[in-house]
């Protein structure tokens, strides 16, 4: 081991820094078109006017956060359920037991949210 082996490290760091500086300061200004229109002020698929005159002064009710979290929890659950369902025959009882445990885990969290009033909007 000698100090030559650190050269790739230095080059790597220099490339990384250079890329960040170039893409933020250089490329965007040089290559990007600058045509303003209303759509540029819209948030993607959001439905809430973010700027310049945002609804409610730009504040969003925190209730959205809980709904989004629940959505992600069930989204992730289905991500695991699909491959399990496709390969169900090959994996046998072990996988079934594991999946049931996983679904129970998700439903315990759901039961907590439900019982503690997380699903009531007001």
């Amino acid at each position: 081991m000698n100090h030559y082996s650190y050269y790739p490290l230095l080059i790597f760091a220099a490339l990384g820094t250079g890329f960040a500086v170039f893409s933020v300061l250089g490329a965007a200004g040089l290559a990007g078109p600058k045509r303003y229109n209303r759509a540029k002020a819209d948030a993607y698929e959001c439905g809430i006017q973010p700027s310049p005159h945002a609804d409610g002064g730009g504040r969003v009710p925190i209730k959205y956060y809980l709904t989004a979290m629940l959505f992600i929890v069930f989204d992730i659950e289905s991500v695991f359920l699909y491959p399990f369902a496709v390969n169900f025959d090959r994996m046998g009882l072990f996988a079934l037991v594991e999946m049931v445990l996983f679904v129970i885990t998700v439903f315990v969290a759901y039961a907590y949210v439900w019982r503690r009033g997380g699903l009531e909007w007001d």
Binding site: M1, Y7, P8, L9, F12, N87, M91, A111
Partner: protein
């Protein structure tokens, strides 16, 4: 396509080895169900009982089942070996004491350490409503159990992905716990936010490092990585940054300089019992994981990472010791003290042998007991309804409440590493590991900064015994919960200093990593 499908094989899991973790996660789930279905007035009693029984059950399964079934299991992603058992057992015992302290209510439900309603804005109608209903955050108990589960998996992980999952499982509950203080809520929420953001950054560093290591070795498994490193491929250009970035993620949890900046803010803002839990148990788990990653996966690259760990160890000792001198808040002082102690442990970690592993085990055990007791004592000293954390409010405590002052003085003496206390044993074990490997000069720096740190601890003692009491500082009488926790910790702090041999022998017997 067909080949891939037929190549499916079921992973064997040695349940007898992982049963302590399963118990902890199971009881944590039970805790969530209790939160959902048990009436509010019963929740506290049920949660405390279930949590303590769960921790006890997990510890018993660890001794009677996991200890006799050391194994590399779950497809190589979990390794239950000597060090893993030691770190897991330590986490369980320390968190048992920490839960006792967290359950402390000083005979009045309204003055426990946790907020009525974590989601409410301080001073809002929602909070007023929660106070009127007599709400309490009994969620802390399942959260602690989830964190404990992560802390048990962290030092037992056999590949970088499992290390990352364990890191997140232990961190996320801690971020929430940090923001749940009943008093000074804005400070607590600010601490939680800082801890979360910096923690997320460090996780990203860790993941990036793991990706680079994967690019080098073609595997995340520690054994395969070690084999790839010793075979050598000439692509050190991605391995070395990978190792350093993985180290950043782990050193963040350890609280080593320059990744320590979250520690004082998080400890100051967090509910005091939670700060004790974080300081003691997170350190155990993080050092366990650091040792496994660097001793099992990267020993072949020691010429590259040892100098970095040496530099980090020196920086950690210097910054921790020097900045703790300037602190005026007892919780920040203990936070900087924890940074200094992490530096002392890193001195031994550099040695890369069994003695270093057993030294680290001894150190995190002894430091953990003293720390939980110290934070439990801080929670008792009050002034005007708040915790009296400013050092000037501790003046003359030796006259007004001799027992608390004496116990705090004992913990300070232990932190300073005075002989006949447990941390002297630990310092001896860790520094002799460094000396055994040509690190005499490093151990010498460690001893010098022990002296600097000792000044800070002695200053607290002098303040308690040789200053006149000022202001309206009162010491609350704790219930049996804190009483038991502090007594056990104090007895062990003395006992492990006077009779260190059983602990040293046990740590030595459980210091061999399974590869």
């Amino acid at each position: 396509m067909i080949a891939a499908a037929t190549g499916f094989s079921q992973t064997k899991i040695e349940y007898a080895a992982v049963v302590p973790m399963l118990v902890i996660f199971g009881v944590a789930m039970l805790g969530v169900v209790i939160e959902a279905f048990v009436p509010r007035r019963l929740r506290y009693v049920v949660q405390v009982a279930v949590t303590l029984l769960g921790l006890l059950a997990a510890f018993l399964t660890l001794i009677f089942s996991a200890r006799d079934h050391k194994a590399v299991t779950a497809g190589g992603s979990v390794v239950i070996d000597g060090p893993a058992l030691m770190f897991q057992g330590t986490v369980l015992v320390l968190s048992f004491l920490a839960v006792l302290v967290m359950a402390e209510r000083f005979d009045t439900p309204s003055i426990d350490a946790f907020t009525q309603s974590g989601a409410s804005v301080p001073g809002s109608p929602m909070e007023t409503n929660a106070v009127r209903l007599g709400a309490t955050s009994t969620e802390v108990f399942p959260l602690v159990l989830f964190a404990v589960g992560g802390m048990m998996l962290f030092p037992a992980a056999g590949d970088l992905l499992t290390v990352f999952i364990a890191l997140e499982v232990l961190s996320l509950p801690l971020y929430i716990l940090t923001g749940l203080a009943r008093r000074r809520r804005l400070l607590s929420q600010e601490a939680s936010m800082k801890y979360f953001l910096l923690g997320a950054f460090s996780s990203a560093f860790f993941l990036f490092g793991a990706a680079l290591v994967f690019g080098y070795a073609g595997s995340l498994n520690f054994g395969t990585i070690a084999a790839a490193v010793s075979a050598g491929s000439g692509r050190d250009g991605i391995l070395i940054p990978g190792i350093f970035l993985v180290a950043v993620g782990l050193l963040f949890k350890i609280g080593a300089v320059p990744f320590h900046s979250w520690t004082p803010d998080a400890y100051q803002g967090a509910p005091t019992p939670v700060a004790g839990f974080m300081a003691a148990c997170t350190k155990v788990a993080a050092f366990g994981a650091f040792l496994r990653v660097f001793y099992v996966a990267f020993p072949g690259m020691k010429w590259n990472w040892q100098p970095i760990v040496v530099v980090v160890a020196i920086l950690t000792m210097v910054v921790g010791a020097v900045l703790s001198v300037t602190q005026t808040d007892i919780k920040r002082l203990l936070a900087y003290s924890s940074i200094t102690q992490a530096g002392f442990i890193l001195v031994g970690v550099v040695a890369l042998d069994r003695q270093a592993v057993s030294g680290t085990i001894v150190y995190v055990i002894t430091y953990g007991f003293a720390t939980i007791a110290a934070f439990a004592l801080v929670a008792m000293v009050r002034s005007g309804g708040n915790e009296a954390t400013h050092l000037s409010q501790w003046a003359g405590l030796g006259k007004t409440s001799p027992v608390v002052a004496a116990l705090m003085a004992l913990m300070m003496i232990a932190f300073a590493g005075i002989p006949l206390t447990s941390l002297f044993t630990a310092k001896y074990a860790i520094f002799s590991a460094a000396v055994g490997h040509g690190g005499t000069w490093l151990a010498l720096i460690g001893v010098i900064f022990s002296a600097v740190a000792a000044f800070v601890y002695v200053r607290v003692i002098v303040l308690m015994y040789f200053s006149e009491p000022t202001g309206d500082t009162v010491v609350l009488t704790p219930s049996a919960l804190t009483g038991i926790a502090v007594t056990v910790a104090a007895v062990l702090t003395v006992a492990l200093g006077v009779f260190p041999t059983p602990l040293l022998d046990m740590a030595h017997n459980y210091s061999q990593f399974m590869r």
